[in-house]
């Protein structure tokens, strides 16, 4: 029976440590900025952390460097095995949603690494968020290994290992300020080019003031929004975005209304209205796009948001642009 479990082509167990080097930190930095985003990968397989024995615990993770490094650094001083699944360089939760951090890959990896012969026990500790892709009862049936879902965050593992029971706090996802702030760089990278183009075009069409308004609306959506998310009223991201965009538009409106008294009042009102019409939809759209970066928006809810608010965004933005065009034409004719 034991012979049947000797797998040909079985790879040797590589060793790793809990140390995070300068090179690791540089890799994390680049990952956060979306640089070389397909290259933050770890070779799938089995890794020995410290000096594990046959009865040492086995931890399963994704082959994304941020996931792997978070796990091994959290396990400082603990001897164990880390089994890295091939998730195509994607983190645990995303990969679980996609199915690459999944039942089939886990069963395959158990066989490919010859885990049956490496450890004497039959328990795997998985990150809780991997449960989206892994059916524990199927793993047991197909591999004889019992899946134990550990805490969501690797940092809670040392505490968890004392009792092998996670507290309710360990089981709930958080999205605190730091969690949100680390997402801003990639959000920024995404809008950089469109923002630069919009800024340059608007500078030539309407001058520095209009250009600044566009940049403000966009930065509000990708920088201020993640920071202020829980403070903005309502649960719908689009509404939160409209409110934030409105607040950011306010100084622009006031500047125009209280501007040059030589300009006819109705022209000033017309010009002032451009900003609360055109800016909030931009911020709201970017806010809506942030849903995918949060750990709590449902597919049903986001779909409802898209149907409810994107038409409003388009209409308001369209009116704002039409009004801006009218103001520019009137000013051109009047020489004002």
């Amino acid at each position: 029976m034991a012979d049947s479990r000797v797998h040909r082509g079985q790879r040797s167990v590589e060793s790793t440590s809990s140390a995070i080097t300068l090179a690791n930190r540089w890799d994390h930095f680049l990952a956060r900025w979306g640089v070389k985003r397909n290259q933050h990968v770890v070779e799938p397989g089995l890794y020995a952390l410290g000096n594990p024995r046959a009865d040492s615990p086995v931890f399963v993770t994704a082959n994304y460097t941020l996931s792997f490094d978070a796990l091994r650094s959290a396990l400082a001083g603990i001897d164990g095995y880390i089994m890295v699944l091939d998730t195509k360089g994607i983190n645990v939760w995303c990969a679980a949603g996609k199915g690459t951090f999944g039942t089939d890959e886990l069963v395959h990896r158990i066989e490919a690494t010859g885990l049956h012969n490496v450890v004497s026990h039959r328990v795997l500790i998985l990150p809780q968020l991997g449960a989206t892709g892994v059916a524990a009862h199927e793993i047991l049936r197909r591999s004889e290994f019992t899946v134990e879902y550990g805490p969501i965050r690797a940092a809670d593992l040392p505490e968890y290992l004392k009792t092998h029971r996670a507290t309710p706090e360990m089981r709930q996802v958080r999205f605190n300020l730091l969690d949100r702030v680390v997402l801003i760089p990639v959000e920024l990278v995404h809008v950089l080019l469109p923002m630069a183009i919009a800024a340059v075009v608007l500078f030539f069409v309407g001058g520095f003031f209009v250009s600044a308004a566009a940049v403000a609306a966009i930065l509000a959506g990708v920088v201020l929004f993640p920071i202020l998310l829980p403070l903005l009223p309502t649960s719908d991201f689009s509404v939160k975005g409209f409110i934030l965009g409105g607040m950011v538009a306010l100084p622009f409106v006031l500047t125009i209304l209280m501007g040059n008294p030589a300009v006819a009042w109705w022209l000033r009102v017309g010009e002032g209205l451009i900003f609360p019409l055109a800016m909030p939809p931009v911020t709201a759209y970017l806010a809506l796009n942030f849903t995918g970066s949060t750990p709590f928006t449902s597919k049903t809810g986001v779909r409802r948001e898209i149907f409810a608010y994107t038409p409003i965004m388009a209409i308001l933005f369209g009116i704002g642009i039409a009004l801006a065009t009218a103001v520019i034409l009137i000013r051109g004719w009047g020489g004002a």
């Binding site: 941020l66 939760w93 995303c94 199915g99 989206t132 969690d179 970066s293 949060t294 750990p295 809810g301």
Partner: protein, 108 residues
């Protein structure tokens, strides 16, 4: 109209529950809690439809139309005429996962 997240597709049939406790372990939003005889759904409105409970429910007492609540991916899928995507699926460059890979979002 303000309240897009009050509805979701999570359905639980306690009659099928074998009280294994997995749903209350895997749920990242404490939607389920362990009960005397069967699991209790205590915060259904907090469900984000990740599908972890459904996948780990041996008797299939829980069903949910799981997917990723990612507007960027859905809008892109709609614009390109492809079917709605799960996280980072066939539309390679879509969704948070492929591009953002944060520890939250999509995941740890």
């Amino acid at each position: 109209m303000i309240g897009s997240y009050r509805f979701n597709t999570l359905r639980y049939n306690p009659e099928l529950c074998v009280n294994c406790g997995m749903c209350s372990i895997v749920c990242p939003h404490a939607v389920f809690a362990a009960g005397e005889d069967v699991a209790q759904m205590i915060r259904g409105e907090a469900c984000m439809e990740c599908g972890a409970c459904q996948r780990n429910c041996p008797p299939s007492a829980i069903t949910v139309d799981s997917g990723v609540g990612c507007a960027a991916a859905m809008i892109r899928a709609a614009l390109t005429g492809k079917k709605e995507v799960t996280c980072g699926s066939e539309i390679e460059s879509s969704c948070c996962c492929k591009e953002r890979k944060p520890p939250t979002c999509c995941g740890a």
